[in-house]
């Protein structure tokens, strides 16, 4: 008898407490900036593509869902000729982001990756590339690397001495 009253009391009490359920998709939950969702390719602070098509993300990927091909453009930069992620395979593990030496590939807190047709989960470079730096505001790989590109000659990078004059006679 007592227990029945207790049940009624608890039910009535819960009618007035705040619900735990979130009204998704009308209400979006908070996901931290480092949450591992949809993958993007970011740009350097000056707007250049960051990805140098080094293939490290692809090799780190445990499900092999990244495919790309490198090309060398006239400005001396290496870029991806094509860059494809098959999100129907991606497990959002974030290994690619960890492997990336240029901070180009980053995971975002967007987890809404549902499609009626699996084929639509194949993202090409134009779908992946965003117009921003993502989580790393000021890294520019080419400034750290030793190779020359247009507008950055040999020895003009960070922590570099000017090129050696090999015709010089000084020891």
């Amino acid at each position: 008898m007592l227990s029945q009253f207790r049940t009624i009391w608890l039910v009535l009490k819960h009618t007035f407490t705040k619900a735990d359920t979130v009204e998704y998709p009308e209400k979006k939950p908070y996901l931290a900036p480092r949450y591992r969702g949809r993958i993007v390719l970011t740009r350097e602070p000056d707007g250049q593509e960051r990805c140098v098509a080094c293939n490290l993300c692809a090799v780190a990927c445990p499900v092999d869902c990244i495919a790309l091909q490198q090309t060398i453009d006239d400005d001396g930069r290496k870029r991806a000729e094509f860059f494809r992620i098959n999100f129907s395979r991606c497990i959002l593990c974030g290994f690619c982001e960890e492997a990336c030496p240029t901070y180009a590939i980053q995971l975002t807190p967007d987890v809404e990756l549902a499609e009626y047709d699996r084929q639509n989960l194949v993202y090409e470079k134009e779908h992946l590339l965003i117009n921003g730096v993502g989580k790393y505001p000021d890294y520019s790989f080419y400034q750290q690397s030793g190779i020359a590109i247009k507008d950055k000659a040999k020895g003009a990078g960070a922590q570099e001495k000017p090129p050696i004059d090999i015709k010089g006679l000084m020891p």
């Binding site: 129907s88 570099e160 000017p162 090999i166």
Partner: protein, 951 residues
């Protein structure tokens, strides 16, 4: 490296464990031979030690009780009985780590954009020493790069000053346009001036350099990481040496060629024709569709279409023209199907004589291997520029010449592997090399004597030598046309391991016959003479082994064509044959004939242009078969990637044609795989070479870390296709047995060793034979064409006023038709030049550097009658002899030329034409690259790698 092996094994203690190590090599080699990990940079298994990098430090102890020990450089320390060393003690470990740390102070932050990344010896060694964190925060030294030509990229910042490059380029390969400049932290490795590297071995810098300073430019332009390449063991298809290669493919196109270690042949090095000449398989001239056959379905050609197209020829006889670049299997099948009396190799009468002599030679002698050439103590090369026609052999000859200094050093107790010490002791001392030739070659400056004379004079000279040796006359003070011969003869008869090299390139049967007579008398006199005859093309020896008395020459075929009405012949089948020995009029004759012409080839040429039916054949990288090298060694090449139908192996096409055309023939059934074909042939022909085709393997062509499997075809369909099933023992997949399950490794990789230097892990001992045995099956060749008899025709009489005897220099990049299809090789083609004796030139009042008009009398009617060439002097030439490179005439047999000064306009026209050609080649290269990149996204999907209907 050459040395007499004592092969004495002693016990040494490494970290208190006993090991059996050979005293023939240094401690580093000993440690590596035990498959232990010890980092190194400057030592190279073929080039020995210099002790420049200090990376290979180990601690050596006096005895069991010694606790302190001292650091020694393993690569400069000999192995002694009972020695105790440690690799694991903290002293040497820290030292090695600090050496890397010092190198890293200046090494750029380049790995992601470095083409070496993923197969970088520096990366491997850095990981091996445990140097995981860069401590240096200061500024880095930088260098400007040089343009080193079309093939090798330069990124000097990455240099760790190990000196391997310059030691290879100058000391090992004899190049003189590359060096080391500067001092202390500013040492620079490059050329005095920017420009194309001149050595035909420049590509080895890419593999020899432990870092990414030198990279393969053609590969970088369409790059893939080593871990992403699908590779297969292959054979270089460019010359008769048959170097072993590993070819890499990604997304359906071939990307690069790397060396595949074979101790007896190429060892650690390839020539540039082999490494950079693979572009033809992706070329614009490739045939990708059949023509002349009505296709019932628009999607694909079916077997039925092929038999329908051929059915009305059933019962007719065919002439079959094989070739020296088609596989042994294809040539064999063709001969069986058309019959002995209708088989040809497209050789001219004169070449048939050469073939007959070559058969005779091979039936009597076993040519030396490249490794054995390095052991020679006397080399005589007769009128064959092996630096261009068989470059890898020339590299071996260079090593043989070092034997004198190695011996001298060993008398002083300096072992052969102490490279710089041996070179210092040896000085200029070289083992004797004699050159009797009609043109200058790159070996001239290391030869003891160069006898420069016409081929006709060389034949006389050889005959004289033969006579002298037969007559047992004293060999003192012997002259021939002003040339002192005594030292040549004396050294030849007294040498312990003499070597005589000749070849096909002068196209002179008399010359070959004279060489063989000389070999005969030397052999009869029980002298230990060894020899090699260089053939022209990759499978030339395999092809000529099939010739017999009834085989047809080109002239016979044309005769047959003329009488077509009367003969029972219905057509001609050309097997990968471009008929380079045939003139325009003769081709015209072929065109006019009513006979059906069926051509199988991988690229367009004169024959496919006139054929009624053209069938696209597989090139070496998508084919499966065997080539027979200059020694008669049968070597297999495997498919690197599945062929795109209707491209198929020639042997598949031939069996398919035979099911319609030669249906009664026992071999006229389609084989599902190469091993099945071999089984069929073995049943049919008892003499068929017994080759162990180890198709029971299941080796992965891809590395275990290949990327993109679930994505590379996702743009076509998100559902991943099954991998293509194969029948050759290797899988088109990352799954399967490891590459080292066979001696024919698709690529070399070992844990911790990502670069090609991992090969040490698979050798019995450093630079020795592989752990698993290579199949070494030689073709037994019988003389089946009648003995060649000397008609003494070709010694051409001067028939034109002031005509000169001319010898064409064919450069390594022009040596074969396939090389000519590579756009990059057109880019480096040098301008025409001609060398004359200075006397003759001054009589005519010509200056060096002046341009001449060269008129030629060619044996073929369509050769241009005159070309322009720049004049240079060679004081060794006699007045009636000249040599040079006349590109327009490269494929013609020009024996005589007459010269006159060229007008300014002619020169200007010539230069303009060359510029246009250059631009065209550049565009072709660009276009090809763009096409390949587009193709990357459309990988063809095949389930079964078989014939036409196995999609």
């Amino acid at each position: 490296m050459t040395f007499d092996k004592q092969n004495s094994q002693v016990t040494i203690y490494i970290d208190d464990q006993p090991y059996q190590v050979s005293t023939d090599n240094n401690l580093l080699a000993g440690v590596l031979s035990q498959k232990l990990n010890l980092p190194y940079f400057c030592w190279h298994p073929s080039m020995g030690s210099v002790g420049a990098c200090r990376q290979c430090a180990v601690t050596q102890y006096q005895d069991e009780n010694d606790q302190r020990g001292r650091l020694v450089m393993a690569c400069t320390t000999p192995v002694t009985d009972g020695m105790r060393i440690s690799l694991k003690d903290s002293q040497s470990e820290q030292f090695r780590e600090q050496v890397i740390a010092a190198m890293m102070t200046n090494h750029p932050h380049d790995c992601p954009v470095c083409a070496e990344g993923g197969e970088c010896h520096l990366q491997d060694m850095t990981v091996m020493t445990g140097h995981t964190h860069r401590n240096y925060q200061g500024e880095k030294r930088t260098f400007n790069n040089q343009y080193l030509g079309e093939f090798v990229g330069h990124e000097m910042n990455r240099c760790i000053t190990c000196y391997r490059c310059v030691r290879f380029y100058k000391d090992y390969a004899g190049g003189d346009d590359f060096g080391v400049y500067g001092s202390k932290n500013q040492v620079y490795f490059g050329r005095q001036q920017e420009g194309q590297l001149e050595s035909e071995f420049s590509g080895n810098l890419v593999e020899v350099c432990p870092t990414g300073v030198f990279t393969n430019k053609l590969f970088s332009a369409h790059y893939a990481r080593k871990w992403d390449l699908q590779s297969a063991p292959s054979i270089c298809a460019h010359c008769s040496i048959g170097c072993n290669t590993s070819v890499g493919e990604r997304y359906g196109s071939v990307r690069r060629v790397m060396n595949r270690y074979n101790q007896a042949i190429n060892g650690y090095f390839l020539c540039d024709r082999g490494r950079f000449g693979i572009g033809f398989v992706n070329g614009e001239k490739r045939l990708r569709q059949a023509s002349g056959i009505r296709q019932s379905s628009p999607e694909r050609l079916s077997k039925l279409d092929v038999s329908k197209a051929l059915v009305h020829f059933r019962g007719k006889r065919f002439i079959g023209v094989g070739s020296a670049r088609a596989s042994f299997e294809a040539n064999y099948l063709l001969k069986q199907f058309v019959g002995n009396s209708k088989f040809s190799l497209g050789l001219t009468e004169r070449q048939m004589q050469l073939a007959s002599l070559h058969q005779q030679y091979l039936s009597q002698y076993q040519p030396v291997s490249i490794a054995d050439i390095e052991q020679s103590d006397f080399v005589l090369i007769v009128d064959e520029d092996i630096t261009q026609t068989a470059p890898r052999m020339a590299l071996a000859v260079r090593q043989a010449l070092r034997n004198a200094s190695i011996e001298k050093a060993s008398e002083l107790g300096v072992p052969h592997w102490q490279d710089s010490a041996v070179r210092t002791i040896g000085g200029q001392e070289l083992s004797p090399l004699y050159l009797i030739q009609s043109m200058g070659t790159k070996l001239d400056n290391v030869a003891e004597q160069v006898i420069m004379q016409s081929t006709a004079a060389t034949i006389k000279l050889l005959n004289l030598m033969t006579e002298l040796i037969t007559s047992n006359a004293p060999l003192i003070d012997i002259h021939h046309q002003g040339q002192q011969l005594s030292s040549l003869l004396n050294q030849l008869v007294s040498a312990k391991k003499p070597l005589i090299i000749g070849g096909w390139s002068r196209q002179s049967p008399q010359l070959l016959s004279a060489i063989m007579s000389l070999l005969d008398v030397l052999t009869k006199a029980d002298m230990p003479v060894r020899s090699a005859i260089v053939a022209q093309e990759v499978n030339q020896v395999g092809a000529i082994s099939l010739l017999d008395q009834q085989s047809l020459s080109v002239e016979d075929i044309l005769e047959n064509v003329k009488q077509e009405q009367s003969s029972e012949v219905g057509g001609i089948i050309f097997l990968e044959q471009e008929l380079s020995g045939v003139s325009q009029t003769q081709l015209e004759q072929l065109k006019q004939t009513q006979l059906a012409i069926i051509a199988l080839d991988h690229s367009e040429n004169a024959v496919t242009a006139l054929a009624d039916i053209v069938l696209p054949a597989a090139s070496v990288t998508e084919g499966d078969g065997h080539y027979v090298n200059y020694q008669g060694l049968i070597q297999r090449y495997y498919q690197v990637h599945p062929n795109r139908l209707p491209i198929m192996d020639s042997w598949r096409w031939l069996t398919l044609l035979a099911t319609t055309l030669f249906a009664e023939h026992p071999l006229a059934k389609e084989a599902q795989s190469l091993s099945q074909l071999h089984d069929d042939c073995r049943q049919y022909d008892a003499k068929w070479p017994m080759l162990p085709l180890d198709d029971h393997y299941d080796i992965a062509r891809e590395s275990h870390r290949t990327s993109g499997r679930t994505s590379k075809t996702a743009n076509i369909s998100v559902h991943e296709p099954k991998t293509t099933q194969s029948t050759d023992g290797y899988r088109f997949s990352m799954e399967g047995s490891k590459p080292s399950s066979t001696a024919e490794m698709p690529f070399t990789w070992a844990p911790g060793w990502n670069s090609n230097q991992s090969i040490t892990q698979f050798q019995q001992e450093v630079a020795g034979s592989l752990l698993l045995p290579m199949t070494t099956q030689y073709l037994s060749i019988a003389q089946s064409i009648a003995k060649y008899c000397d008609h003494s025709e070709a010694v051409v009489q001067t028939s034109q006023a002031n005509a000169l005897q001319f010898s064409q220099q064919i450069k390594w990049y022009q040596g074969d038709w396939q090389a000519g299809l590579t756009p990059e090789f057109t880019l480096i083609e040098s301008t025409n030049y001609i060398f004359l004796s200075s006397d003759y030139a001054s009589q005519q009042g010509w200056q060096s550097g002046q341009w001449l008009q060269v008129s030629c009398m060619s044996s073929k009617d369509n050769a241009p009658t005159s070309v322009i060439a720049e004049l240079f002097f060679d004081p060794r030439l006699s007045d009636e002899l000249c040599y040079g490179q006349l590109n327009e005439l490269a494929t013609f047999d020009v024996k005589q030329v007459s010269l006159m000064a060229a007008s300014e306009k002619q020169v200007a026209d010539y230069k303009m034409r060359r510029k246009a050609e250059h631009t065209k080649a550049e565009q072709a290269q660009q276009y090809m690259l763009e096409r390949l990149k587009q193709q990357d996204q459309f990988i063809p999907i095949r389930l079964m790698n078989g014939g036409l209907d196995d999609v």
